[in-house]
């Protein structure tokens, strides 16, 4: 059952990721991106990382993807027209993808993953919260400051001239 679910989600991730880059209708691409991100959340659930799964859906499906769809809907130049799948940078892009693929496969092959036999702690959310407030408090604060800076930047950019 577990293997079946894993293969189902993996299949969905691969098919939808391929569809994102090959579909000609950009709105369909965005919808397949949502399916892809949702399937990744499914994999997180299988790894007992429920908090991560919920946050993945909340942030990527609930906010990022909606913004992308919103942008597509507001851009009349894109609406109802087929977008080209390849352009003049095809070979450069393909070369970079191959480099990325090679480095990923190499990393996965060479890394020795620590495997633990006992099941993960049931209260993973609690542990994440405690870790963020104790061991990883500095990165947490840094990210908070970064996000605050981004927020202020967005407000400055969005502000009307002369106000």
């Amino acid at each position: 059952m577990e293997a079946f679910t894993f293969y189902l989600f993996s299949f969905l991730i691969i098919i939808s990721a391929l569809a994102v880059v090959t579909m000609r209708n950009i709105f369909h691409c965005a919808l397949f991106l949502i399916l892809c991100l949702f399937s990744v959340a499914g994999i997180f659930v299988m790894l007992h990382a429920e908090f991560l799964a919920a946050v993945q859906v909340l942030i990527y499906v609930g906010a990022v993807s909606i913004l992308i769809i919103f942008a597509i809907m507001l851009t009349s130049r894109l609406a109802g027209r087929d977008a080209p799948v390849v352009n003049e940078q095809f070979f450069l892009g393909g070369f970079m993808s191959l480099v990325l693929l090679f480095s990923l496969v190499y990393t996965l092959k060479e890394t020795i993953f620590r495997v633990v036999a006992e099941p993960p702690a049931p209260q993973s959310t609690l542990r994440i919260g405690q870790m963020l407030m104790t061991d990883y408090v500095l990165p947490f604060e840094l990210v908070s400051v970064l996000l605050l800076a981004v927020l202020i930047g967005a407000i400055v950019l969005a502000r009307r001239e002369g106000n």
């Binding site: 209708n25 709105f27 369909h28 919808l31 949502i34 429920e50 908090f51 919920a54 946050v55 859906v57 909340l58 499906v61 609930g62 906010a63 993807s65 909606i66 913004l67 769809i69 919103f70 809907m73 507001l74 109802g80 049931p122 209260q123 993973s124 959310t125």
Partner: protein, 343 residues
Amino acid sequence: MELAPIFAWIYDLLISLGLSVALADLVSQIGLAVFVFSLLCVLALFLVWWERKISAHIQQRFGPMMTGWHGVFQTVMDALKLLQKEDITPTVADRGVFFWAPVIVFTCAFAAYIVIPFGKGLIVSDLNIGILYIIAITTFTIIGLMMAGWGSNNKYALLGGMRSAAQVVSYEVPLVLSIMGVVMVTGSMSMNDIVAAQSGWAGFRWNIIFQPLGFVIYIIAATAEANRTPFDLPEAEQELVAGFNIEYSGMKFAMFFLAEFVNMFTVSAIATTVFLGGWNGPLLPSWMWFLGKTLAMVFVLMWFRWTFPRLRVDQLMEFAWKVLLPLAFVNIIYVGVLALWLK
């Protein structure tokens, strides 16, 4: 009478009939899903009738009176009529997107009920991320609405879909922050833990007593999330004819319509669980308390709809970002101080 022992008895019966534990689990889970689904469908039909009655009485009319006692079977007849109608797909529509939009909206409306505690021991699955799961799964509704708006290839539908997207994204922030106050006090996101933390003290441990501001923010934001007046701009009849569902007819229209009423029940059920003590209450069985409180919340939402005028688009956005969001932060700070003081 409590319902949980009855479900336990049925489960034991399945085991004693010779089913293996895995098979009995599967059968009882499917049975539970069918039970919750049919319960919600009946409830949605009832809510449509109730809304028509309430709106009628607020406007000094009678509302439906002909079919059954005070027209109680009116929506059943309406549903049967919708099922018989021809299923039309516009020729210029994006067929796949047009087909999947009502399916996504309908499924997500029901998916939230996995973690809602209907009574003592009456919860399909007590996930430890309970409330976060509901918030995450309900964001899918908005994708369905946008797909309906885009797939219809109609300018009114598109405008309706875009309006609902902007609205839900804006009101999601104060909604989550208002619930976060309760999570801070409870120390858990599990729905069972949230209800258990509010038991005792003759109702004075309900979160609404300590966090009235959080409750008010939640109710306003939830009304906006459910796309109901005064926040029903996505389907403003005078401007958009009908909004995102303008091209839908027959069964698909019924799916949108049912999902809307199920969503209204969902936000009321969350308000009951998170702020009004869930199924806690004296004398009556727990599921009656849950149902009573939730229907009272539904009544408040219907009362809003038929007594308040609709907001303008700019007022809607300003209210979310300039009033509700700062108030939600004030509530978080207050709850933090409260939690420290209680310790």
